[in-house]
């Protein structure tokens, strides 16, 4: 028999703070986490801005030796996981360590370490390459490290679906808990790809804005949008079966009530313009609860020409004329695009919307685009009680992933 699945904790590291709460407070105050690139010299790069995580000291969350041999993307995941466990009050011991899973995905993996060691390889030869490079760069190092740090010994998987990763990790974890494979899961995403190769690569693909002004660079749904801003960070949630959560008196922040995922079968970077497969993903996510209840949509809203138009089309095709009555916002306007972590942080934000009755805005929305004509909650947060939300994520390769969350009653 299927169990109900609830969110009992979450933690985050983002360009707007190294905790979920600071990030949330900044988001609802329309703060901008995007700035000029500082973590490497980007003077010869056409792209000048990024959403970097600031004031993150890995030693606050792990011992110095672990920090040294852990890539930044996995350091973020360790921090977010520790925060999430603390938030949920979940105690991991011999009675439950095999019943808890870890599903933390990453879009890119340990590219900081890889780029550094490729440079060592080219300049000093193969015998100088660090023996730690493979564990540091592979995608599963985040989940592996989180297991070591927390003592969780259940199912452990890092999955990759580009910018849909965070939402898919949550979706799969939701299904596993729902169907009794796990009692609880730490699930989410993490990425740290603000590196020379990461920025050059996304830039050459035409995905990043070359607007050098951090205050207007990310402007989802605005007619002058011209690419996304790369961000970094991590979001991790504790998903738990309702019975276990109630039994231990856990705090319950929201219930997960649906997940849908499809693919475009179209192009390696472009979304399907009609949004047809995205509509299917939305329909799958809402098949048990219906469309009528949805009171907020956390958009993928990357600030690229193609995404924002096709996502808007998908929302309209899913909700019909009611699409105009549903607030839709993109927090990427303030954080940039945290890649594989984006969907996870957005799921946390969906919990906060339900908890606090505040919808975070889409900032920098000043020039309306006739193709994007929904209520994007421009520039200012809005107070509104919302009981049911969906969070959209789409990724290179044609991934469409949608998670539905509802107030726990």
């Amino acid at each position: 028999m299927a169990s109900r699945v609830v969110v009992t904790g979450y933690g985050a590291v983002s360009p707007l703070g190294v905790t979920a709460d600071t990030t949330w407070q900044n988001l609802i105050s329309s703060q901008n986490g995007i700035d000029t690139i500082k973590c490497f010299d980007a003077s010869t790069f056409p792209v000048k801005v990024a959403g970097e995580v600031k004031n993150f000291d890995p030693v606050d969350y792990m011992d110095p030796k672990t920090a040294r041999y852990t890539d930044r993307f996995a350091q973020f995941a360790i921090s977010a996981s520790r925060q999430a466990i603390e938030h949920s009050g979940l105690v991991i011991d011999d009675s439950n360590r095999y019943d808890i899973g870890i599903l933390i995905g990453t879009g890119i993996g340990g590219t900081h370490s890889m780029e550094e060691q490729v440079s060592v390889l080219n300049s000093r030869g193969p015998m100088r390459v660090s023996p730690f490079i493979v564990p540091m760069m592979i995608a599963d190092n985040a989940t592996g490290r989180v297991s070591i740090e927390t003592g969780i010994r259940g199912f452990n998987l890092s999955l990759v679906s580009a910018c849909s990763t965070g939402t898919d990790a949550l979706g799969i974890a939701y299904k596993m808990v729902k169907h009794g494979e796990l009692k609880a899961a730490l699930a989410g995403g993490t990425d740290a790809a603000i590196t020379p190769l990461g920025v050059a690569g996304f830039s050459q693909a035409g995905a990043l804005t070359k607007n050098p002004d951090p205050c207007t660079a990310s402007r989802p749904f605005d007619s002058r949008r011209d690419g996304f801003v790369i961000g970094e960070g991590s979001g991790v949630l504790v998903l738990e079966n309702l019975e276990s959560a109630l039994e231990r008196g856990a705090p319950i922040f929201a219930e997960i009530v649906g997940y849908g995922a499809t693919s475009d079968a179209f192009h390696i970077t472009q979304p399907l313009a009609s949004g047809e497969s995205a509509v299917r993903a939305i329909q799958m996510a809402l098949k048990d609860i219906g469309f009528e209840e949805v009171g907020y949509i956390n958009a993928h809203g990357t600030s690229t020409k193609l995404n924002d138009a096709s996502e808007t089309r998908a929302i309209k095709n899913s909700f019909g004329s009611r699409a105009y009555d549903i607030p839709v916002s993109s927090i990427k306007s303030m954080l940039g695009h945290m890649l594989g972590a984006a969907g996870a942080l957005e799921a946390i934000v969906c919990c906060k919307v339900i908890e606090d009755g505040i919808i975070p805005p889409t900032i920098n929305l000043l020039n309306p685009d006739p193709e994007c004509d929904l209520d994007y909650v421009p520039n200012q947060a809005r107070e509104k009680r919302v009981d049911t939300v969906i969070s959209n994520s789409f990724g290179f390769g044609g991934h469409n992933s949608v998670l539905a969350l509802r107030r726990y009653l």
Binding site: K65, Y69, S130, P131, F132
Partner: protein, 79 residues
């Protein structure tokens, strides 16, 4: 060159946060200093930088204490 001091520095570099008082000539890498095989390779790279000598993995694998490695470096440098 003070080989012991340089070696200690290399060990500290490879093991941030280590209790430096544990790094004695008698200390074993695996037991006392809690180093694994990956850290040992990392240490051999750090020692190449510090001493300018290459310490083959096969030779290093036979040695268990800090003092033994210091002797190996000494012999390589003297050669």
């Amino acid at each position: 060159m003070d080989i012991h001091a340089e070696l200690k520095q290399a060990i500290c570099k490879v093991n941030p946060g280590i209790d430096e008082t544990k790094i004695t000539p008698e200390a074993t890498f695996v037991g006392d200093l809690e180093m694994d095989s990956l850290s040992m390779v990392e240490l051999s790279l750090a020692m190449e930088d510090s001493f300018g000598v290459t310490l083959p993995d096969e030779e290093l694998a036979k040695l268990t204490t800090v003092g033994e490695v210091a002797e190996l470096i000494q012999s390589k440098m003297g050669a």
